[in-house]
């Protein structure tokens, strides 16, 4: 890829963020109440109000949510790519703002799978209306979702590159060290590699502690033009580069189980930003499973393909390491309501504003929010930076 248009670089910024999680894993609000609260909190964080909003992102229906909010947006975005939906929204909102389609965009997420279960609330599942490839060719074989496809990727990575369960476990260990510094994290007690390996096998080679949590959680972000961002309450978090790629939906169609479409979205986003992996101060890499994060490290270029295992074993990822990753405690220890990508963005923004508290990475100017959707199917990379990076 050469001569990429960099017109999006610095054109738009994240100016407000909000999220709601609890160490209990449960929230006392759900549904639209929670979504609206997140939007209003994020707008307040930005010093904006609902009347400023002319763009709405919601992965189910931006139209229905805009109606509920009582806003009349000129930009609606309902792209649903699973967990990476919110990184895609950043990309598309930045493009829309740069093109003058709209000025102030909100994106929102709320899901409460844990309290839905304990409270006996029935969730409405949208079911396929007829035969579909997953039902016809995969479901008879009992591959548990979501972890089954990730386990296959881990097994293949181990076969090709000699990656070990101990190396994967180190990702969970390093991530928990970050969670220990976050009072809002679901799990904060430190663990070691033996704890991970002693946790029950789910779909081998993945143990329970290789898997993300199931918690309630919600969040929102607000974006606007760079020009307007500089007039608002908080330091702008500029979108420097953004890119998305998908190369399959069901796992059997993934061309190479050891290389995700992040190997396309990552370099494209870095090129747009005019940056390299070495410029990144904080990596928010979607950790649905330990293997997911390991694949990100390789595909984004933090290490070579196949060298993710030795790389993570060197302890780069935890507090004080050379590549702080998932500083909120990640999907593995902080929260994971199902589509975790929203929290990559809220944490990246807080780190770049210097609001990270005990887990603040000193002098953080560049953060990457790298979302993963479906079954390693859709990767979306947002390179974010402070004013100093422009």
């Amino acid at each position: 890829m050469t001569g990429m248009d960099r017109s999006l670089r610095g054109a738009a910024a994240i100016v407000g963020v909000a999220d709601d999680v609890s160490p209990t894993g449960e929230l006392d609000r759900f549904g639209r109440e929670l979504e609206v609260a997140m939007v209003l909190d994020a707008l307040a964080d930005a010093g904006l109000s609902l009347s400023d909003v002319d763009g709405v992102c919601h992965p189910e229906s931006a139209v229905a949510f805009a109606e509920y909010l009582g806003v009349h947006p000129t930009f609606v975005e309902s792209t649903m790519t699973g967990g990476s939906s919110y990184e895609v929204h950043v990309e598309h909102a930045a493009a829309a703002i740069a093109a003058g389609v709209c000025d102030v965009v909100v994106s929102v997420y709320a899901a409460t799978p844990r309290s839905d279960r304990t409270q006996g609330r029935r969730r409405e599942w949208r079911r396929p209306t007829g035969p579909n490839p997953m039902a016809e060719w995969d479901m008879p074989y009992g591959l548990r979702t979501p972890m089954g496809p990730y386990a296959l990727a881990a097994a293949r990575h181990m076969h090709e590159f000699g990656t070990t369960s101990e190396q994967l476990a180190q990702i969970a260990v390093s991530t928990r060290q970050w969670a220990a510094l976050n009072p809002r994290a679901r799990y904060r007690d430190l663990i070691d590699i033996d704890d991970v390996l002693a946790s029950p096998l789910q779909v081998s080679p993945l143990h329970l502690l290789d898997c993300c949590l199931v918690t309630d959680g919600a969040g929102a972000f607000v974006m606007t033009s760079a020009e307007r961002a500089r007039t608002l309450a908080k330091p702008p978090v500029f979108v420097l580069g953004a890119a998305t790629c998908t190369d399959h939906m069901v796992i059997g169609q993934m061309p190479d189980l050891t290389t995700t479409p992040g190997a396309v979205s990552g370099p494209r986003a870095f090129e747009m930003a005019g940056m390299e992996p070495g410029d990144v101060d904080v990596l928010m890499g979607y950790d649905s499973f330990t293997i997911t994060a390991l694949l990100h490290l390789e595909d984004l270029g933090f290490c070579k393909k196949g060298e993710g295992g030795p790389f993570v074993a060197d302890g780069h990822l935890g507090p004080g390491g050379s590549l702080p990753m998932n500083t909120n405690g990640g999907g593995l220890s902080f929260t994971h309501p199902g589509m975790y990508g929203m929290f990559l963005i809220t944490e990246a923004a807080r780190q770049l504003r210097g609001e990270g508290g005990a887990r603040q990475v000193a002098g953080a100017n560049v953060a990457v929010a790298h979302g993963s959707g479906m079954f390693l199917s859709v990767m979306s990379t947002a390179v974010l930076g402070t004013e100093a990076t422009l």
Binding site: P131, P133, P140, Y141, G142, R144, L152, A154, H159, E160
Partner: protein
């Protein structure tokens, strides 16, 4: 447990629905024949079956069905240790192997590898097709170790 399961009438497997593109595949399984859709335009196998060739965009006229050898190589294999969590009751509650296998014809499909302890299945292992009868007379393609015909 569903009422059907309680009554003992539920099939042990999730039985696959038949899509328009896969109808010929499933009919052939009644005779234990494993078909692969083949593009005569670019000379490549197509899986899962489609109404056009995803490799070269040739139309349906270019697609035909060929009988596969039944020989394959394991690409990646995992073991489900909690069948109940997967909603699967075909293994009698015991751990089972789920694998992606590469057919000799160059297509990759998801399957179960049976006939050996599930932990013994490895990437690179040769396997051959085996069959499991479904409730409607169709047969589900599984694979087992070795090169011999089942």
């Amino acid at each position: 447990m569903s009422p059907e399961q309680a009554a003992g009438t539920a099939p042990a497997r999730f039985e696959p629905p038949v899509g328009v593109e896969g109808a010929a595949f499933w009919e052939a399984t009644r005779e234990r024949r494993l078909l692969v859709q083949w593009c005569t335009s670019c000379d490549r196998g197509v899986f899962y079956p489609r109404v056009f060739c995803p490799h070269c965009a040739a139309g349906a006229d270019a697609l035909e069905w060929r009988t596969a050898s039944g020989r394959a190589t394991v690409y990646a294999a995992v073991v489900e240790h909690r069948p109940e969590a997967a909603g699967a009751n075909f293994s009698g509650g015991k751990p089972y192997c789920v694998a992606l296998v590469d057919l000799e014809e160059g297509v990759r499909m998801l399957t179960n590898v049976v006939g050996c302890p599930p932990d013994d299945v490895r990437s690179g292992m040769p396997v051959t097709v085996a069959w499991e009868l479904l409730s409607d007379g169709r047969q589900l393609p599984l694979f087992e170790p070795g090169q011999m015909a089942s």
